[in-house]
């Protein structure tokens, strides 16, 4: 029963959602809206679960003085401080007015934004080192890849003079023809794989997500 009930629910709701896509009637829309509401409600409760998990793991590290437990204190402090300011000293629970809080905005603008932007900008450095390692003309195909990459990078380079419009045109061709052809092939494969996996889940063939082989 413990195994059969989730499978039955997946089957029923999976087919309901497939059928719903083809029925425009308002009853069908109502079912859709009802299920969407439930997804959001479950999502909010799951967030509480996540919060509990993070707090427990971090607190355990601090309590047992596990290696690097200091980072866990920073995690917990950040988590609860932002929450505290977000609720605007626990005056506003139901609206977003809390995020107008002076401290919340300052933490957001002067800590969260720079930290996130810095993390993302690391990508530029990693791309540079990965490009250095990967773009080697080892074979004909690798050389083609290398040439394509150079063309795309140089397409808007004003130092190229009269070559620049040619580069631009060539890069547009590269993006619209070979790039698109390869991407479409992968997208079609991915699309079919998604439908196949979704059908396997709905039909109960794929059950690993329930922890079953």
């Amino acid at each position: 029963m413990k195994r059969q009930l989730p499978l039955a629910m997946v089957f029923i709701f999976g087919f309901l959602m497939i059928i719903q896509y083809f029925i425009p009637h308002e009853y069908s829309e109502w079912v859709n809206a009802f299920l969407m509401d439930w997804m959001m409600i479950i999502g909010v409760f799951a967030l509480a679960l996540g919060l509990w998990s993070l707090t427990r793991v971090s607190w355990d590290k601090v309590r047992q003085k596990k290696p690097n437990w200091g980072y866990s204190i920073v995690t917990l402090a950040g988590l609860f401080l932002m929450m505290f300011f977000g609720f605007d000293y626990f005056r506003h629970f139901s609206t977003a007015v809390g995020s107008d809080n002076y401290m919340y905005i300052h933490f957001y603008r002067h800590i969260v934004i720079p930290i996130q932007a810095t993390m993302f900008s690391l990508l530029a450095f990693f791309i540079a080192s990965a490009a250095y390692r990967a773009f080697r003309a080892r074979s004909l195909l690798a050389t083609l890849l290398l040439v394509a990459a150079l063309v795309i990078m140089l397409r808007f380079n004003p130092f190229l003079g009269p070559l620049q419009p040619i580069m631009e045109e060539f890069s547009v061709w590269l993006l619209n023809v070979p790039n698109l052809a390869a991407k479409r092939a992968i997208v079609i494969g991915v699309g079919l794989g998604m439908v196949a996996t979704a059908l396997k889940v709905i039909l109960g063939i794929e059950r690993a997500y329930l922890g079953k082989d």
């Binding site: 609206t95 995020s99 934004i113 900008s121 390692r133 080697r136 808007f156």
Partner: protein
Amino acid sequence: MNIFDRIMSFDRRWIFLSLAIVCVVTFMWPFHVPITLSNEVRSIYNRFDSLKEGDMIYLSVDYDPNALAELHPTTYVLAEMCFRKNVKVIFGTLSNLGQGMVDQVIDDITDSVMLDKTYNGVFYEGREIQNGIDYVFLGYKPYPAMVIQAMGLDFRVPFPTDYYGTPLDSIPIMKGVKNFDQCKLVMDMAAGNVAEMWITYGHGNYNVPLALAVTGVMGADMYPYLNSGQIFGLAAGLLGSAQIEKLCDNPGRAIDGMRIQLFAHILIILFIIMGNIGFFVTRRRKKMGGDVR
């Protein structure tokens, strides 16, 4: 160990350091990079340019601070263009740190629109932008696919109130506005899979006229949707933002940033060339060594 062997076993931290130096130096060097315009960005501008006073659009700010450098300039310029032209804007976000992004855009643009300015030869008198009259900010709800579908039915399903807690029915510009049918277009500035959700659920289910501004990495992925007509325009990365700034005659951080990007690209190309020279020489030497033996 000769120079070519050194090149082949190059410590990547040298690459990081060189890139950092190039970025810092070009940031401070006032060099103007000419911006070439592409058709996919031009079509975004044309659609915005054809909007009339009183029209309504939906601007979806679906990125976190991490994509700020690439996407914020597009949001700024397009929002300012709408406010100048007296086009009503519904702001929304499907990214959980997007609320702060929208807050920042509204704060800054409100100040900017107070001043008189001329764009592309058209003079706009400064005016005050008012919440509920010129724009509404719906706020954030998790699970973007569901929120887009729910908004397609009625904005009030996922957002009974706006970000500030005012019921949508009592907001002047939302009178008679039910869903995307009343919006002339949806412009999604996205970092992540939200862009594809807009295509699948927004355009697929509700046929919304959709354009995207995405990060540079995502750009090449979105071209199939452009060719199939699922999106009418595409601005990818910093270059896309710079093109929008140029078209709107409102130069800002994107056009500035192009300078840094240009020299960073040149540096990466130099490293690639260097790596290949090292690769060929060491391979040749290995081959020759093999022959001797």
